[in-house]
Structure formats: structure tokens, C-alpha cells
Amino acid sequence: MHTARREAQLWLAQRASAAILGICVVVHLITIIYATRGGLSGAEILARTRGNAAWLSFYVVFVLAVAVHVPIGLRAIASEWLGWDGRMRDGLLIAFAVVLVLVGLGATWGLFW
């Protein structure tokens, strides 16, 4: 694929995932503060999340947006600060994205099931 086109697509993916994450992070922060302030126990947290399709959908979207956003951000840091370009860098970052999806969805499934 043409480099400029690929860079434009990555830029757009970074911004689109950032917009989704902007909402997800605010909801996540409110949830963290609510759970911490209420001193919720593990059982109380799981009682709210287990079998709850809304929380499952929310965290699936959150994890997928993270898996898009983080590797693209790391790619910019690798290029600009380390001068590291090329297929090896991109391959490692794709592998990192796959790890984020797998462990993230694993944790999400634990909340739901």
C-alpha cells in the first residue's frame, strides 16, 4: 500500500479510536471512583457485571479501541524518538495489539461470565 495512504489511515484510526476512548475513559473513571468510594467488595462488583450485556459490550468496545490506539501511539514514539522504522517495528506492534485484544477480552469475559 502507498505509504502516504497508509499513514493517513493510521492517523484516522488513531483519532477515531481516541474519540471512542474519550467516552470510555470518562465512564471508566466514574466507575472506578464510584466503586472505590462505595468500598464495593469483589462479590458486589461481580454482581453488577455478571450476565450484564451492556457492561460486556462497553468493555469489548473499550478493549478494541485500546488495541487500535496504543500500538499506533507507540509507533509514533518509536519513529520520532528512537528513529525506529520498518517492518520489524510494525510486526512487533501488531503482535502487541493482538496481545492487548487477547488479555483484554479475557479480563472482560471474566467480568461477564
Binding site: 483519532r15 476512548l21 474519550g22 473513571l29 469483589g42 478493549v63 514514539i77 492487548l100 488479555v103 483484554g104
Partner: protein, 120 residues
């Protein structure tokens, strides 16, 4: 505009607020990127059973872990606030109020940091 030029002349590049915002955004993003896989993995393990999660939550009661949690929440708020500022700068037509976004992003981080500290 004239004020901006005067300000740009006054501050060396690396001390300009926008550059500081860039560095905060980048370093907070890097720290969060390193933390996330560990966070997901630990949560995934803790969620295998209620008792495991209870043990994990008790572990997070220690002062050192609470301090680390607070730093992470602050980093998350700083990165989110800085990111929303960038989205507004890049996608909304330029208006004078956007100059205040840097202060709004910083205030957002402080408010979230304080709210979490008070909830701890």
C-alpha cells in the same frame, strides 16, 4: 495573534505550554501502554473466582498500591484530557476559546485526581 507572537518570542520552545502538554501527553501515554497488558492480565487472573478477586482487592488496600493507583488514574485523566484537547484543536473550526483548552485539560486531570484521592 500579536500576543501569540510576542509570547512565542518570550518562551524558549521547550518551555512553551503547548510543548509541555505534548510531553505530558506522550509520557502518560507511554506509561499507560506499559501498564495496560499487566492490568488486563492481573484482572483476568483475579476474575477467575470471587475469592480471587476479593484477595486482589485486599492487596490493593496497601498504601503503596493505593499511591500507584492514584498515579495511574492521574496519568489516565491527563492523557484523556490532553487527547480531547487535541481532537478539539484538529477537528473543530478554530475559535478563541480553544486557547483555554490547555487549562481545561489540566483542570480535568486535577479534578479527577482529587476525586479519586478523596474516594480512596
Amino acid at each position: 495573534m500579536r500576543a501569540n507572537i510576542a509570547q512565542a518570542r518570550h518562551y524558549p520552545t521547550r518551555r512553551r505550554p503547548a510543548y509541555v502538554a505534548f510531553i505530558v501527553h506522550r509520557l502518560s501515554g507511554l506509561a499507560l501502554a506499559l501498564f495496560l497488558p499487566v492490568h488486563f492480565w492481573a484482572l483476568g487472573r483475579a476474575l477467575t473466582a470471587e475469592a480471587e478477586l476479593e484477595g486482589f482487592l485486599r492487596w490493593t488496600d496497601s498504601p503503596a498500591v493505593k499511591a500507584a493507583e492514584w498515579v495511574l488514574v492521574l496519568l489516565l485523566a491527563a492523557h484523556a484530557g490532553g487527547g480531547l484537547r487535541l481532537l478539539a484543536l484538529e477537528f473543530l473550526p478554530w475559535r478563541d476559546w480553544q486557547r483555554s483548552l490547555l487549562a481545561v485539560a489540566a483542570a480535568f486531570s486535577v479534578v479527577v485526581g482529587l476525586a479519586f484521592a478523596l474516594a480512596l
